[in-house]
């Protein structure tokens, strides 16, 4: 039995289902991230675990104990909020001491524990500062220390980095991970930022519309997405909708292109599929104007014109128009990208084993369109 178990959890707000029949197990000392777009139910799940919402159906078990109907103040959880939620009238130290003082611990113990936690989050000199005297990043560190002070069994983090600027976000994210590993704390982290989720988690639950699409390790989620949604939401990808000509040979007719993919055992010939390739799997090469205009694209070599070139430091992102309706994205190491410019004719290539093939039903093709329109 896992440390924290969600059994068949559902939550309805009126007639709307925020979360539908979710089963989720979190192991001791694990860092699990709930990742998904807004409205997918991830925060609702976290709030049900914290005790701020009561599930409409199902049970929550912590350490084999049913805590479904237990009040939030009686649950051994520590929570970190997006808006920090530090008590404005208390100093950083008083904020950290708040939870322990409720437990009627001796004063010396409280003082010692506060000092210990301030050191853990690297803010030993800020104990007497009030929240309004601290930066956003510092406030969130204090909030983390405050949540850890009560020695919770599970640490819950609700988009803790969303209100911070990019640089602080990365450093604090590493800090959270370091602290979690140091204390061997079980943590559940909610975010809509896939990069954050990939960087920080032991496992990620990708969520959409109140259910879990895929629950896996970050590497698996990225390189081997099981659903169209997971593939579209995590990382960016080039997508081809088409029909699988030959599952055994790995041939797929998508638009005007006959794509070579790896042989597909689980799919049948003639099935509607979505073929995905990550931008970093693309390679770029020169081509002549004639070749480009003839549409002479064979196999996984597709010709087109560079429409946009974005230098992103270690790599350069090219948006290449390959036909009227389609733009492919290629991330090329910046050293190789020097020779390519906007309006240049190029060939994009990708190996068959870089292609992910997913069966596509009609609902999902709509979903893909929705996600595409959002990301564009």
């Amino acid at each position: 039995m896992a440390f924290l178990e969600l059994e068949n959890i559902a939550k309805y707000f009126g007639r709307n289902a925020a979360v539908e029949h979710i089963d989720l197990s979190v192991e001791r000392s694990e860092f699990l991230t709930l990742l998904g777009p807004s409205g997918c139910g991830k925060t609702t799940i976290l709030r049900m675990i914290a005790g701020f919402e009561t599930p409409s159906e199902g049970n929550i078990l912590l350490d084999d104990e049913n805590i479904t109907n237990r009040a939030a103040s009686k649950r051994p959880m520590g929570m970190v909020f997006q808006s920090y939620a530090l008590f404005p009238h208390m100093t950083a130290e008083q904020n950290i001491a708040f939870g322990i003082s409720i437990q009627h611990k001796p004063k010396d113990f409280i003082k010692h524990r506060c000092a210990e936690l301030l050191e853990l989050v690297g803010l030993s000199d800020k104990g007497s500062s009030f929240p309004h005297q601290l930066s956003g990043g510092q406030q969130q560190r204090i909030a983390l220390a405050r949540a850890l002070a009560v020695e919770p069994k599970v640490l819950l983090l609700d988009e803790p980095l969303s209100a911070l600027d990019a640089k602080v976000r990365v450093s604090l994210r590493n800090e959270i991970r370091r602290v979690q590993q140091q204390l061997k704390m079980t943590a559940i982290y909610v975010t809509h930022d896939q990069e954050e989720a990939l960087a920080i988690s032991d496992r990620i639950a990708v969520m959409a519309k109140g259910h879990i699409e895929q629950l896996d390790q970050p590497e698996e989620i990225y390189s081997n997405p099981r659903t169209v949604f997971a593939a579209s939401f995590v990382g960016s990808s080039n997508q081809f909708q088409g029909v699988l000509e030959s599952a055994g040979e790995g041939l797929c007719q998508a638009d005007d292109y006959l794509l070579h993919v790896s042989p597909q055992q689980e799919l049948k010939d003639g099935e509607q599929v979505l073929v995905l390739t990550r931008p970093e799997e693309m390679s770029i090469g020169p081509t002549t104007e004639e070749e480009a205009y003839s549409g002479n694209s064979s196999g996984n070599h597709i010709t087109g014109i560079i429409e946009l070139r974005t230098f992103l430091g270690p790599f350069t992102r090219f948006h290449v128009r390959v036909n009227k309706n389609m733009i492919l994205t290629a991330d090329i190491p910046s050293q190789q990208a020097r020779d390519y410019f906007v309006a240049q004719h190029v060939t994009l290539s990708f190996p068959p084993d870089a292609c992910q093939v997913l069966p596509l039903d009609s609902n999902e093709s709509n979903l893909v369109k929705q996600i595409e329109s959002k990301t564009v």
Binding site: G51, A71, S73, F81, A85, L86, F87, P88, M90
Partner: protein, 308 residues
């Protein structure tokens, strides 16, 4: 008793900090309409006050403090003034105890009830005090069968057994209703400003129960709103005439009215006296909020004027 109707905020200090940059602009153009308007407003506020002060010091023949001496030695002043203060304190305490947890609860658990509360708190503006006073006297003075049933027997109990008609306790209850708009709004605004639900959830997650959260986390952060509410309630009661007059209870405003009819100089001195007391109260409270630990008061606004 009057209370300055201007909100006092940190903006005054912010303006002071910004003003040096204005010096770069041509000085003559900046000395224009804004300063004239400011001077006119100051005159509008201060001239009547100054005139009242002069009038209070003038006993018709020469200047002196005789009006003030007459007030201090007046037995009616010695009884009505403390009595009105007692009424005001009682009303303020009852009001804060009733409204603060209610506003917190609505904010936290019943946001859908807010429109109803907004409407209820506006009713005292729409219904004149004289209507309420007559209503109270009518309902509690001679309760009929329908009122008895509708109030679940409470009205007959209060009027017959406890004999509340025309008593200070009933008047305090009436004052609570009159001052409702001045109390609910500043407290509600303050609760909205501090992100009440997230702060409460943070406290719960640290093992703190509802009441303790309210007392140790929420209350210290809405002091400015409560102080505003208390101040407005206090001032309203200190100046309330209609209900007291119809209840035939001799309070400070009635004493002020009677005095005004007999001795105008003494009435002017009374006005100055009550104004000074209010001013000291307001300044004291502002200083208290500004310089308390945490300095959160510096960021909050005392909404004295907004409700009125």
């Amino acid at each position: 008793m009057e209370v300055s109707s201007q909100g006092i905020s940190k903006h005054s200090t912010a303006n002071a900090a910004i003003s040096p940059t204005h010096k770069n602009k041509p000085a003559r153009r900046s000395f224009g309409l804004d300063k004239i308007v400011l001077i006119l407003v100051m005159l509008y506020l201060l001239v009547p006050l100054g005139a009242t002060l002069v009038f209070s010091l003038n006993n018709g023949k020469n200047f002196g403090l005789s009006s003030f001496q007459r007030i201090i030695s007046d037995a009616d002043f010695a009884t009505t003034f403390p009595f009105s203060i007692e009424l005001a304190v009682a009303t303020t305490i009852l009001m804060v105890i009733l409204i603060t947890p209610t506003a917190y609860w609505i904010q936290l658990r019943l946001p859908q009830a807010r429109p109803i509360m907004d409407f209820l708190t506006l009713v005292p503006f729409g219904v004149p005090a004289i209507v309420m006073a007559f209503g109270l006297i009518e309902v509690y003075g001679s309760p009929n069968a329908l009122v008895s049933v509708l109030s679940l027997g409470l009205v007959p109990l209060l009027s017959n057994q406890l004999n509340v008609v025309n008593t200070p306790p009933l008047m305090v209850c009436a004052y609570v209703i009159i001052a409702l708009p001045f109390t609910y709004r500043p407290i509600d605004n303050n609760l909205r400003a501090i992100n009440t639900s997230v702060l409460s959830e943070a406290a719960y997650s640290l093992g703190c129960g509802w009441w303790r959260t309210f007392l140790t986390v929420i209350l210290p952060n809405i002091w400015p709103g409560i102080i505003s509410a208390a101040l407005l309630t206090f001032a309203t009661v200190m100046g309330e005439f209609t209900v007291a007059s119809l209840f035939s209870i001799y309070t400070f405003p009635i004493y002020l009215n009677v005095t005004g009819q007999n001795d105008a100089h003494k009435a002017a001195a009374l006005t100055i006296l009550s104004f000074t007391i209010t001013l000291i109260c307001v300044l004291g409270i502002i200083l208290l909020i500004r310089f308390r630990p945490g300095g959160a008061g510096k960021d909050s606004q005392i909404e004295i004027g907004t409700a009125k």
